[in-house]
């Protein structure tokens, strides 16, 4: 691993810490029906995956904690393929928090972009 790669990894890790919760809430906020861990993890496959989670196993503890803090509701249903699945859906509190987080994210993104592009609006 070169020096640059180490810095990249560290940055990705720090970036993902808060973003994963936002994206998870976002996924469940749009979902029309409750989703279980594997389904949610599959939504992360593709472009954002490397930055946000690294590995999909990292999503499960976050789901559990979002549920423990009342932003998600969960229930268990048996499945044919394996152990009973835990389904998650967003709560009213979760929706309120999500919209707050989205505002924060939009403001942050605008600010970061403007700095990185170097425009000065004065």
């Amino acid at each position: 691993m070169t020096e640059t790669e180490i810095h990249l990894k560290k940055f990705q890790k720090e970036l993902s810490a808060g973003m994963v919760s936002l994206v998870l809430l976002g996924v469940l906020g749009q979902a029309t029906e409750p989703m279980y861990g594997y389904q949610i993890a599959k939504r992360f496959e593709g472009a954002g995956e490397a930055v946000l989670t690294g590995k999909q196993s990292a999503l499960y503890p976050v789901l559990r904690n979002l549920s423990a803090s009342g932003l998600l509701d969960s229930f268990v249903e048996p499945s044919v393929s394996g152990p009973p699945r835990r389904y998650y859906q967003i709560t009213e509190d979760g929706r309120a928090v999500l919209s707050e987080w989205m505002n924060t994210w939009n403001a942050t993104r605008g600010f970061v972009d403007s700095i990185l592009k170097g425009d000065s609006h004065e």
């Binding site: 594997y38 196993s57 976050v62 803090s69 394996g82 152990p83």
Partner: protein, 321 residues
């Protein structure tokens, strides 16, 4: 981090490697991690019916993560996320963070140096009230667990000569596992000891009989049954300590009210009555007030001890096997 990671060929192998990688971690965390991994792996396998287990698992190492990576993620992530999300534990932080937003952060659980502050501070500790409530509740849960365990065990043995014997025993063991999760939730919310939120990993391989055998040889099954039996005497003792502590303190506290309401001649103490020695209401009131604090301390202490007992009997036995 080593780049040569073992690649498991089957799901039980993967889970075994994950368990090995998590060795020494909080058993409740281990149980949750194994459960999550199994859900993902089995779902992935079901999504790709054409492929064999080994090649699916190889792909999983890059998406879900190899066992060693998953172990690392769980150990790191759980600490980081729970720190950010859990509301602060001690009441002192709650008053500090009344601004609302400030509640996110590492709580500094500083013990007050002053023993007097420590003694009276218990009244502001939500854990003490929760433990007191758990003690009162444990009479009911204790009787229920004991009855369930004894009835289930004796019916299982009795039915053994009939065709329904084995299915009944299996159902009973299943209910014991479910109850151990329920009790875990109770203990975690009321006594503040981290308990598993997912059932323990059960091997899905092998026939019906091997799985029954696994339940029977699992020390967790027997430790849970032992816990359920123990809860009858323990529940009784806890209830009595809590109840007597509260009642004694409250009756001493009520001495001045009784006096002023004019019932003083009904209260007899050491061959004298409150009507003859009215000054007694002051020491009685003080003793009653102190009694409340002592009861809360006792409840908090018993809560801690019982939390450890529950963790050892309901969780540790499985993680060490």
């Amino acid at each position: 981090m080593s780049n040569i990671l073992q690649t498991p060929k089957t799901i039980p192998e993967y889970l075994e490697l994950l368990r090995a990688a998590l060795k020494g971690k909080d058993p409740a965390l281990v149980q949750d991690a194994l459960y999550d991994a199994e859900e993902y792996l089995r779902a992935e396998l079901a999504e790709h019916p054409g492929q064999d287990e080994a090649s699916v698992l190889e792909k999983v190492s890059s998406s879900y993560g190899a066992p060693e990576e998953v172990a690392e993620i769980y150990s790191e992530r759980e600490v980081a996320v729970s720190e950010a999300f859990r509301s602060p534990r001690a009441s002192i932080q709650q008053t500090q963070s009344s601004a609302g937003v400030a509640s996110v952060g590492v709580s500094v659980n500083k013990k007050p140096q002053n023993p007097i502050a420590w003694f009276f501070g218990v009244a502001a500790d939500p854990r003490a009230y929760a433990a007191l409530f758990y003690m009162l509740l444990s009479l009911a849960t204790g009787i229920f667990y004991f009855t369930w365990a004894v009835t289930g065990l004796s019916l299982s043995l009795g039915f053994m000569i009939l065709i329904i014997g084995i299915p009944f025993a299996v159902l009973f063991m299943g209910s014991v596992w479910a109850l151990s999760l329920v009790e875990g939730r109770l203990v975690e919310t009321m006594l503040g000891v981290r308990m598993p939120r997912r059932p323990a990993y059960v091997n899905q391989e092998g026939g019906f009989l091997t799985r029954i055998k696994e339940i029977l040889v699992d020390p967790r099954t027997w430790a849970t049954l032992l816990y359920m039996l123990l809860m009858l005497p323990l529940g009784n003792i806890y209830f009595n300590i809590a109840f007597i502590g509260l009642i004694l303190s409250l009756s001493f506290l009520s001495a001045p009210f009784i006096y002023f309401l004019g019932y003083a001649d009904h209260v007899h103490l050491f061959n004298t009555s409150l009507a003859e020695q009215p000054w007694l209401v002051i020491p009685m009131f003080v003793i009653g007030a102190l009694g409340i604090f002592v009861t809360l301390h006792v409840a908090r202490g018993i809560g801690k001890l019982h939390g450890q007992l529950a963790k050892n009997l309901l969780v540790h036995t499985s993680a060490n096997s």
